[in-house]
């Protein structure tokens, strides 16, 4: 505790006789340049995400499980990781059964320690939901929880994310307000704006550094 007290005391001594600066946050500055009407909102998100190699498919809501199947088939992938405890997880499982899809559905239903090796090396793709999207920066918001764990959007080489068109906000500030983030955050909140990438060698862009090589976003139009 000594270090703590020494540091704090030293800082307090340096501040003696001064008063804290007033709050000068300017909401306008972080919102006004980043406002869009509904159609442009989707277009903005789409163009930014596509610019960093994200694949985007707008769909009618009920079509997405079939689209997932098609995407896996076209890539010759053998399995897909899903979250059985979520509503979209249940929809996917139902479709898989009805359509007789041949790819293996892998449920993320036990602690990572029990199957780390398999998770790290053998999963081909994953499907997760999102909490929304941000048009200004072309980002998805993920709020992993016990049903949809953190590693689902990180380990598989292909990550398929579901985004409701109506959940796209103009900018990060609007998103924080709309979902009252400051009232309480999950263990790990994520903004994801493309597949994993690096430019560490000669600034040449290479995708699939440590996370997914491909990010596919299915934008679900409302009924």
């Amino acid at each position: 505790m000594n270090a703590r007290n020494n540091i704090l005391n030293k800082l307090r001594t340096s501040l003696a006789g001064t008063s804290p600066r007033p709050d000068e946050f300017d909401e306008e500055l972080v919102t006004r340049p980043w406002q869009y009407d509904p159609q442009n909102r989707i277009e903005r998100l789409r163009s930014l995400m596509e610019a960093v190699h994200t694949e985007i498919h707008p769909l009618a809501s009920e079509q997405w499980p079939a689209k997932v199947q098609e995407l896996l088939e076209s890539r010759n992938l053998g399995n897909v990781l899903y979250a059985p405890g979520t509503e979209h997880g249940r929809m996917l499982a139902e479709h898989w059964q009805n359509a007789g899809a041949k790819q293996e559905l892998i449920a993320y239903d036990r602690p990572v320690e029990e199957w780390k090796e398999e998770l790290f090396w053998e999963v081909d793709a994953s499907v997760t939901g999102t909490l929304g999207g941000i048009a200004a920066t072309g980002s998805l918001v993920l709020w992993p929880d016990r049903h949809e764990p953190r590693l689902m959007s990180l380990l598989p080489p292909v990550h398929i994310a579901l985004l409701k068109a109506s959940d796209i906000e103009d900018n990060l500030y609007a998103m924080m307000k709309a979902q009252s983030w400051s009232a309480g955050l999950p263990t790990n909140l994520l903004l994801i704006s493309g597949p994993s990438k690096t430019a560490d060698i000669e600034q040449v862009l290479a995708y699939g550094a440590h996370g997914p090589k491909e990010l596919i976003v299915l934008i679900l139009e409302d009924q």
């Binding site: 270090a3 020494n6 540091i7 030293k10 800082l11 340096s14 501040l15 001064t18 008063s19 804290p20 600066r21 007033p22 709050d23 000068e24 946050f25 300017d26 500055l29 972080v30 340049p33 960093v52 993320y108 602690p111 990572v112 320690e113 090796e117 090396w121 920066t137 980002s139 929880d145 016990r146 764990p149 953190r150 990180l154 900018n171 500030y173 924080m176 983030w181 400051s182 309480g184 955050l185 263990t187 790990n188 909140l189 994520l190 994801i192 493309g194 994993s196 990438k197 690096t198 430019a199 560490d200 060698i201 000669e202 600034q203 040449v204 290479a206 699939g208 550094a209 440590h210 996370g211």
Partner: protein, 484 residues
């Protein structure tokens, strides 16, 4: 891990290393190409000047505001994080910080550590500290991995391996990992991905830095493109974050402009691929994430900088690297020339409070004061002004109580020369006498006047002074005027 070659000790002075770097054509090309591209990308990311300047002003105010209540915010951060289940540690020195990290690893009987990019851990020389205690600490950022594999230090805070080209990386991978040489960058990255994935899986502890620590919610925010930061903070059973005490901001909303400024200034990206906000360890019913999260708050001279109202501004820094990308000196001599953890303009103003100005007396002078660094700084640190301040501290005599450990360049001889100069220029009689002597005995000027004569001929005073010539000119004009 292989022993790190202390690159910075190959030549033991800034000037010596600068000379070597300037003669290395490959190095200069690598930096020139990279810095040109980074400057272009930043310019493209801020197309609207008004928006950019407004945002920089806001960034400055947020950081200055946070610093004006720093001790309270640190306590608030500690309280929130503790409520969230994160263990907070404090360290005054890098030695203390290393011991804390080592203690955590030891308590878990850990032997393998995987690390996301963290400049504070470079400050601590954590890899070496742990290696001496038989703990392998592997860098997982591709650039950091490359420099670690080659026993080097990063040459740029955002692009650690920017001094290397693909052929050099290919040869390094071939020599160290036994893979085929290739000119294909994608293939090189695939090799890195494969090698490091095993490490992520097996690591006992993951170490990361922090870009912003949010006091309001008790959240650690990290930005990155590769996913190695997420891996290091999610896959191992224990996550240890290390950061400087200046990284705390008050409110969650504050990160909206700050993240935008950071990623646009650093890489010209509207946002990084991942913005990773960590507010606690794995909850009892969650299926992944570390069971323990620790935060080590490091001082290492920051509270000394804080004590000096002018130097306090250095703590605004959000480590974007834009100042080095735009620095004509950095671009030419490269990051290793500085011989310290933080190179370039920002390095020159923060290294003094970490190691003492007397250790790096050449740094403040390694600048043309062109002002580019101050102009691009996203949080408006007046870098040129602070460099001038350090130059003054550098030449203060002991009696003048130099601050930030200055005085290393104080020379009685130089001081005496300036005294004479002042005397000559403030006393007209003396000045006239000097002028008379200089114009008559100019030939006696020494042929060797220090560094100047390395590349130039020595200056010789003219036979007649400007005053003298002007007098002649004016009187001849008057004559002409009288005749017409």
């Amino acid at each position: 891990m292989s022993q790190r070659i202390p690159i910075t000790e190959l030549t033991d002075s800034f000037r010596g290393r600068a000379k070597e770097a300037l003669e290395d054509g490959q190095l200069r090309t690598n930096f020139r190409v990279a810095m040109d591209s980074l400057m272009r990308k930043r310019a493209d990311a801020f197309p609207d000047e008004e928006e950019r300047e407004g945002l920089r002003e806001l960034g400055n105010r947020i950081k200055a505001g946070a610093l004006s209540r720093l001790p309270d915010l640190l306590e608030q951060l500690e309280t929130r994080l503790t409520e969230n289940g994160v263990k907070v540690h404090w360290a005054e020195t890098t030695e203390e910080a290393n011991q804390i990290v080592h203690g955590i690893i030891k308590s878990k009987q850990g032997s393998q550590v995987v690390k996301g990019k963290s400049m504070v851990s470079e400050e601590m020389e954590m890899n070496d500290f742990l290696a001496e205690r038989h703990i392998e600490c592997l860098e997982s950022d591709m650039g950091e991995y490359i420099v670690q594999l080659d026993g080097e230090k990063p040459s740029h805070i955002i692009m650690p391996a920017i001094h290397k080209n693909r052929r050099q990386v290919s040869k390094l991978f071939h020599d160290k990992l036994g893979v085929e040489e290739t000119d294909d960058v994608n293939e090189l990255i695939r090799i890195g991905r494969r090698t490091l994935r095993t490490e992520f899986m097996e690591a006992d502890v993951g170490v990361s830095g922090v870009n912003f620590a949010i006091a309001e919610t008790g959240t650690l925010l990290l930005v990155e493109n590769e996913g190695n930061g997420r891996m290091s903070t999610t896959a191992p059973p224990v996550h240890v974050a290390v950061t400087g005490i200046e990284k705390v901001v008050e409110n969650l909303r504050d990160v909206v402009p700050l993240v935008s400024l950071l990623t646009r200034s650093a890489l010209g990206q509207p946002i990084t691929t991942y913005v990773n906000m960590i507010s606690g360890p794995r909850k009892p019913d969650e299926l992944d994430g570390p069971e323990e999260v620790h935060l080590v708050l490091l001082d290492n001279g920051r509270s000394d900088a804080f004590a000096d109202a002018q130097m306090r501004q250095t703590l605004n820094c959000i480590r974007c690297g834009a100042c080095m990308n735009h620095c004509p000196v950095y671009t030419r001599v490269g990051g290793h020339t500085y011989g310290e953890v933080y190179p370039g303009p920002i390095g020159k103003i923060i290294t003094p409070h970490m190691v003492g100005l007397h250790q790096v007396p050449e740094h403040p002078s390694a600048s043309s004061l062109c002002g580019a660094c101050g102009e691009v700084c996203p949080v408006k640190i007046p870098i040129p002004e602070l460099l001038q301040r350090l130059r003054q501290e550098n030449v203060k005599s002991p009696a003048e109580h130099p601050k930030v450990d200055g005085g290393a360049k104080y020379s009685r001889k130089e001081r005496a020369v300036w005294r004479i100069w002042v005397a000559l220029n403030t006393r007209p009689g003396l000045y006239k006498l000097f002028l008379w002597a200089a114009t008559r005995f100019g030939k006696l000027t020494p042929k060797n006047v220090g560094p100047w004569t390395e590349n130039h001929t020595a200056p010789v005073p003219a036979r007649r002074s400007l005053h003298d010539l002007a007098r002649d000119h004016l009187s001849s004009q008057q004559k002409q005027g009288g005749q017409s």
